[in-house]
């Protein structure tokens, strides 16, 4: 900068000398032609024109001076801003809020949606599932035969793989159990994802031959957390309750397929098997269009259907980008929240623009004088723009800090349990985004005052900044437009928040169909090796339950194949219900112990519940839920109906009589309707008898958690090698709402911020407008106007503007609400309660922020105001 200054000084001096010489020569010339010295001097100066402007123009052409100009403008801007700290702090703080919120949400969206998956060429990876084209329902999983057929040269893929989720129990060195999420994988699995192992050689082709030995690949986090990053882990043995497997490798830190896997095991599959229990993955050849892939897959599917009409008939493949499978329904929430923050930034910019405009008209005299002294229009605009850029930079720096802190808080709130949000990196893309927001807000904030101030001619500014005139009309028009926008945005965000909050409260109050209060639940997995015999399993369960019933405070205990809302797996066999054609009845099958309905607080609507007398030897009975009756037995007495089922074919030899109807229970989520379901009692379906047991314990304790230690002790007494965790049923229900809770919390935050910003903006405008009319008010009061008259006079404008904004905002809110209505639970976007309370709230805040400054103006003493003129 010193170098620039020296350059400037040198060239400036030269130019000054030159101009002096010019003027002198002109004077000499005029004097020679007979003018007096004084007249000659005046004529010379007149002919020369504006000397300062000439120098300024000369300077603007010089690249060195351009830098120098910007530097000195920045300095000037900082000086000006420091002279009005309240204004600067308010403006920078507002921008910090806006930029901070958008950056925080962007970093989350970036982590979940935009950040590439850690696998090489991850864009080529697809998930593979199947569906029936004839309306029958399937789990959608794939089988080994399908994969064998897909490895055909006509299919444009470079790899295909399967995985199978398994729950296993590992034994620590002290023989205590710990449950591990395992995934059985086939030969193509690790090559498909393409990440090198951290150590070891991993699986070799031999591992996948029939009868080959087991092997295990540990996940990086298990190796680090449970094995202390043992550098000589490879070759040691992984001890499982079901046996042991030599550890052949440790996976890359980023390898996480299927999500949450602790250890991968080698599967030995029969390539001709049609067992549909596997997750499928494809790696598509680069540059393949979705259409080409789909048509090749369809060809394979139709050949399969021809060759194996039973299990493969009418099946079609579905492929999806791998990232979708990981992120799932997080996308709409992030989009909603990101647009809400975008609106928030708009709001922040509007506010700061407001502040600027209000100040600009106070500065119009300064600008007019600078223009008169020779500052070009571009020069003034640059200066104003630099001022807003300096403010926005301060706002961005604060905003990035805010965003960083905010994201950490967000993760504490539970976002870290959402897919891909274990970590939210704060890297280059996020900082670039923040800078982009800085540019947007600097331009957004700076442009209005520039147009405003450099618009008319100098004369107009000298005139309008005179104190007698009541503010520049154009300033008022601009301010009013801004307030309309501000109120509209606030209404939009608040209404959106209202819709989400109502949707969330509806979900919270949604009846899952069972009573979660006073109940504990846990899952145990009986290792098949030791509990192979169903009789052993049954006796084990009986004893355990008898012991648990002995714990003080326990009122009932039961078990089922799965617990509602807990990632329940669904078994959907083919069903034959009399009066219906085969495979048109679709219902979920769930196994329970006799007391299950009682222990869960599920109510019996008709008929009877299961009893201990429903045994293997007695007539097979089923209990159905109300949805089943509504859908399949609406026109007759369900208690007289019989059904048979089976997979892959219905077993007609066994007819199950429906003996009871219970209320609907939501298994998948609070969000989804209950599916038609039929329950069977465990004793009558040995084939399905549990290895995996979801136990529910009903208690009359005030806090059921108090009983957990005693119940744990009973289970451990039965088998010290079982891994399990006892949780209150209420927390199972609450955890299904984690996503919605996060979204709602965010929107609530935005709603409050939007209201605050709108209030500040309106307050600022009305305060400014009233202050400007002080002398008018004083005159009116001196002439006999009452404070009431003044009050009405000043507040009318603000209230009209707010009303227009509210109407506009309602329209936008309704339109946006319709866009996201599929994401709302039992709330319509036109929900009158939400819309009415939004308008009431926003107008209330508007009213408040209008009345405070207006009240102050109405109380001024005319004498004081007139004297200050």
């Amino acid at each position: 900068v010193r170098f620039f200054r020296w350059l400037r000084w040198r060239t400036d001096r030269e130019l000054d000398d030159e101009i002096d010489a010019h003027l002198q020569m002109d004077i000499d010339m005029q004097v020679e032609s007979g003018l007096s010295l004084e007249d000659a001097r005046q004529a010379a100066h007149r002919r020369f024109g504006n000397r300062a402007r000439v120098k300024e123009q000369a300077r603007e052409r010089d690249p060195f001076f351009a830098v120098e100009t910007v530097v000195s403008d920045v300095r000037y801007a900082v000086r000006t801003l420091r002279k009005s700290p309240a204004f600067s702090l308010a403006a920078a703080g507002t921008l910090a809020l806006g930029i901070g919120a958008t950056t925080a949400i962007f970093s989350v969206a970036n982590a979940a949606l935009l950040r590439p998956l850690p696998y090489p060429h991850a864009g080529d990876i697809r998930t593979l599932r199947t569906r029936f084209t004839d309306g029958r329902v399937t789990s959608g999983l794939v089988g080994p035969l399908e994969l064998t057929r897909l490895k055909d040269p006509t299919v444009p893929i470079t790899g295909a793989a399967l995985s199978l989720n398994m729950e296993l129990t590992r034994l620590r060195d002290d023989r205590t159990p710990v449950s591990v999420a395992a995934a059985g994988v086939d030969e193509g699995f690790f090559p498909l994802f393409g990440l090198p192992l951290t150590m070891g050689t991993g699986f070799t082709p031999e591992h996948f031959r029939q009868g080959a030995p087991n092997g295990a690949v540990l996940s990086y986090h298990v190796w680090r957390d449970q094995f202390g990053s043992d550098p000589r882990i490879v070759g040691k043995s992984l001890e499982l309750v079901t046996g042991s497997a030599p550890i052949v490798g440790v996976a890359a830190p980023e390898m996480d397929v299927p999500r949450g896997t602790d250890v991968w095991l080698n599967l030995q599959l029969n390539p001709q098997s049609t067992d549909h229990s596997f997750e499928g993955y494809l790696r598509v050849r680069q540059g393949t269009t979705p259409e080409a892939l789909a048509s090749r897959l369809a060809a394979v599917a139709s050949r399969l259907g021809r060759d194996y009409p039973g299990p493969e008939g009418n099946r079609a493949f579905i492929v999806q980008p791998f990232v979708n499978a990981m992120v799932g329904d997080l996308r709409p929430m992030l989009i909603i929240v990101l647009s809400a923050t975008g609106l928030l930034l708009v709001l922040a910019c509007v506010n700061v623009t407001n502040l600027f405009l209000a100040r600009a008209s106070r500065r119009s005299r300064e600008v007019a004088i600078r223009a008169a002294l020779g500052a070009g229009r571009g020069r003034i605009a640059l200066q104003l723009l630099i001022e807003s850029a300096v403010l926005a930079t301060a706002g961005m720096l604060m905003g990035v800090l805010l965003a960083y802190a905010g994201v950490r808080v967000l993760l504490l709130f539970g976002a870290s349990q959402l897919p891909r949000l274990e970590t939210v990196p704060f890297g280059t893309p996020v900082l670039l985004f923040a800078v982009a927001m800085l540019v947007v807000s600097a331009l957004g904030v700076g442009l209005a005052p520039i147009l405003h101030l450099t618009g008319g001619g100098i004369e107009r500014w000298l005139r309008e900044s005179g104190r007698a005139v009541r503010g520049a009309l154009s300033t008022h028009r601009a301010l009013r437009t801004m307030i309309v926008a501000e109120v509209a945005v606030a209404v939009t965000i608040v209404a959106g928040t209202g819709l989400l909050v109502r949707s969330f409260r509806n979900l919270q109050h949604e009846d899952p169909g069972f009573d979660a209060r006073g109940r504990l639940t846990f899952e145990v997995l009986l290792p098949p090796a030791r509990y192979q015999n169903p009789g052993v399993r049954r006796a084990w369960t009986e004893t355990l339950f008898t012991n648990i019933r002995g714990v003080r405070g326990v009122t009932a205990v039961a078990a089922a194949s799965d617990f509602p809302l807990k990632n329940a797996l669904s078994a959907r066999p083919l069903i034959q219900l009399d009066g219906w054609p085969e495979s048109h009845v679709v219902a979920e099958q769930r196994l329970v112990t006799p007391e299950f309905f009682d222990a869960m607080g599920i109510r019996l609507r008709r008929g009877r519940s299961f009893t201990h007398d429903d045994r293997q030897t007695t007539a097979p009975v089923a209990v159905v839920n109300e949805s089943f009756v509504r859908k399949y037995a609406a026109d007759r007495d369900p208690l007289k109906a019989q059904l048979s089922f089976g997979f892959p074919r219905v077993d007609p030899t066994k007819q199950w009589s429906i003996v009871g109807v219970v209320n609907d229970v939501k298994y998948a989520s609070l969000w989804n309707r209950a599916e038609p379901t039929f329950y069977l009692v465990q004793d009558q379906s040995w084939r399905f008898s549990f290895f995996r047991l979801s136990v529910v314990v009903a208690t009359d304790a005030a806090d059921p958690r108090d009983l957990a230690p005693a119940i744990s002790a009973e289970v451990r007494k039965m088998d010290p090698q079982l891994a399990f965790t006892i949780v209150p049923a209420t927390s199972v229900v609450a955890s299904t709402l984690a996503r919605q809770r996060l979204g709602t919390t965010l929107m609530l935050l935005f709603g409050v911020m939007a209201l605050l910003l709108a209030a500040i903006g309106i307050y600022g405008m009305i305060a400014y407008a009233s202050a400007e009319r002080h002398s008018e008010v004083a005159t009116r009061m001196a002439l006999g106007a009452t404070p009431g008259n003044i009050f009405w006079l000043l507040s009318r404008q603000g209230l009209t503007v707010a009303a227009i904004g509210a109407v506009a905002g309602l329209g936008i809110a309704y339109a946006l609400g319709r866009l996201v209505s599929s994401w709302l639970f039992e709330v319509r976007p036109s929900d009158p309660l939400v819309l009415a309370s939004t308008v009431a709230l926003v107008l209330g805040v508007t009213l408040l922020s209008t009345l405070i400054p207006v009240g102050r103006a109405a109380r001024i003493s005319p004498a004081v105001a007139l004297r200050s003129e």
């Binding site: 030159e18 010489a21 010019h22 002919r47 020369f48 024109g49 000397r51 000439v54 052409r61």
Partner: protein
């Protein structure tokens, strides 16, 4: 007299400056006086506006400058045409003539040569 003067067309000032330098080096005041006299006082220029133009031309290497002494012994900066400036002047002059002819043909068809 002022009413008869016309404001300079945008961009023509550079051309006029180059033309006045064709007979040799001049200082800023000399250029201003020369333009005014040779246009018989019809063209109105602020003498000041000459200096940004001179800087512009010098940066484009169409003219060069050095300090010297004026006819009545004042220190002044003298500007002279460079080879590039000479070429540019020739180009622009013929372009200017072509344009003037074209515009006149449109404005006064009957008088066209």
């Amino acid at each position: 007299m002022a009413a008869d003067r016309i404001k300079l067309l945008q961009g023509t000032l550079d051309l006029l400056v180059l033309q006045t330098l064709i007979l040799g080096a001049r200082h800023g005041h000399g250029i201003a006086v020369a333009i005014q006299q040779s246009s018989e006082d019809v063209l109105l220029i602020d003498h000041g506006s000459l200096y940004p133009a001179l800087q512009r031309l010098e940066r484009a290497r169409l003219i060069s400058s050095s300090w010297g002494t004026s006819e009545n012994n004042r220190r002044a900066r003298f500007y002279s045409l460079t080879a590039k400036g000479r070429r540019r002047l020739a180009d622009e002059t013929s372009q200017w003539d072509a344009m003037v002819r074209a515009v006149s043909r449109i404005l006064r068809p009957q008088e066209a040569p």
